[in-house]
Amino acid sequence: MVNETATPAEAAAPAEAAAPGAAQPAEAPLSAASTPPAAAPAAPAAPRVAIVGAGPAGCYTAQFLRKRWPDASIVIYDRHDAPYGLIRYGVAPDHLGTKAIAKQFDRLFARDRVQFVGATDIGTTITLEQLQAEFDVVVLATGLWADRVIDSFQTDASAPVPSGVYGSGRLTRLINGHPAESTEGLHIGRRTVIVGNGNVAADLVRLMLTSAEVLASHGVTADVIAALTAGPLEHIDVVGRSPAGVAKFDVAMIKELAKLPDVRFTSDSAEPPASAVTPDAPTLDQAKAAAIRDLVDGSPATASRTVAFHFGFTPDRVSGGERVERVTFRATDPTALPATLELAADSVCTAVGFTETAGALLRRDAIASPTADLEHGRLADGLYCVGWFRRGPVGTIPANRADARTVADAIIADVEAALHTSPQLIKETR
């Protein structure tokens, strides 16, 4: 059983090195036909590590473990044929600098003897128990990728939810060519409402107002471009719960919108009093509010497309016939005026975060043992979690790198402590 595990040299087979993720390696370390061994293997000096999920959190974990353990056998499984998860299917295709982080991870497979096994669901193809029997360390890094649903959109019992409400995760996967997504039923129309004030909402604004030619140059497929540009879009409302200063977007994302041609931006955000602004050292709140103000002030007075930012409104309900026609919001601050906001819309895009997928095969809270130490990613003996799967759907790719370092440090401490208390195990395996 143990001998089936690819050695580092085998894992660096040229075919795999040339095209990580292009195909399942011939020498998969654990196939569906595998059966658990009779006894758990002894802890070796160079541990065998399985990472489930080849997104940023999983790949960064592999990097840190490889640096510490040059001779460990490290395998990353993913349910997709190709690795890199959010970087491949979530990061906007025009953000090439961020997409390029994947090239850093290519080195894991091409040079650093980490093996990729795609098209493998842990929980069906291979059970978690089988994986734990085969490997000394198992790290779950499957992320959270289901669109969080706005509950109040669903609770009008008198009528079904009109069609035309789309989650941002679905849209960004679609734009990035995810194999399980299709344009069926997708109709953005001339007016759309984007609910949410994070970087994903800013991505959607930018991508929806990007020309077909530019989208095509970034590899977006013709059917997706047709669905996005069919309206064509004339107006986007972007609605967030918070005031502009504490909206979730990064300043650079808002500045980037200024490059879109032929767009007039407006905002209903109240101007902060000049006395509240410290020009030499603006706070982040002030910088965000100023970025919105500069975007609005710098945009043309007339343009064929308009984007209106609305701050401080919480989604209430969608209404219409078969398709959505209107979205209503109420002021987040109940004393604020106006108390409600009603917007006409051909479609609604929700960009309000991510959650666990219904029917997820691996659910953190079901797996965690009573002695779990989630702060350091310890779920149970030899079983760890990292990234959004560990701590929830908050934080960017660099935050998941920091997360991976924390969890890798915990894994290294545990494995090396076990070796220290049982030094004979080192001899046996050397």
């Binding site: 390029a100 982080i101 650079a252 660099p398």
Partner: protein, 164 residues
């Protein structure tokens, strides 16, 4: 030569550049690579040549691992006279703050008396390329320049010796 690579990273790209510089230089030189987060000021000496590799984060900000280094430079104001370094910045020219993070470190080092040597290396990620090859090309040119300077110095010594 004795090279010390100081890297400041956010997403890990600058660290992979540092790793590659170690691989490139270690055949002929003493090389160590240190995350800026872990730099202690009393280890900065005129005996080493510093290769500073730094990315840019967000709206022209420092990457997370460079922030503690910048803070300690600001707080301690060490005299860096005699310290020589070369700079390699990572950025994305689709943002107006391209490569600004590295400049924030460069400005501090220069202001404290250190001397920047050679070309200011930069990599632009806007085309989706990795910085590593650009950085290797940069460091090869840099080392060639340093060797030429050293030879020139040696020649001057020879001239001086002859004159004596």
């Amino acid at each position: 030569m004795n090279f010390v690579i100081l890297y400041g990273t956010e997403s890990g790209n600058a660290e992979t550049v540092a790793d590659d510089l170690v691989d490139e230089l270690s055949a002929d030189n003493d090389v160590q690579s240190i995350d800026m987060t872990d730099v202690e000021l009393d280890t900065l000496t005129a005996d080493a040549f510093y290769l500073v590799v730094c990315s840019t984060h967000g709206d022209g900000g420092l990457p997370a691992s460079a922030v503690p280094f910048a803070e300690v430079l600001d707080a301690e104001q060490p005299d860096l006279t005699g310290i020589r370094y070369a700079m390699f910045g990572l950025g994305d020219s689709s943002y107006e703050t391209y490569s600004r993070g590295s400049e924030r470190i460069d400005e501090r080092l220069t202001a404290l008396g250190a001397t920047r040597v050679g070309d200011y290396g930069r990599h632009d990620a806007s085309d989706g390329s990795l910085p590593n090859d650009t950085a290797l090309e940069w460091v090869r040119n840099l080392v060639a320049g340093l060797d030429a300077d050293a030879d020139a110095d040696a020649d001057l010594d020879d001239v001086a010796a002859v004159a004596r």
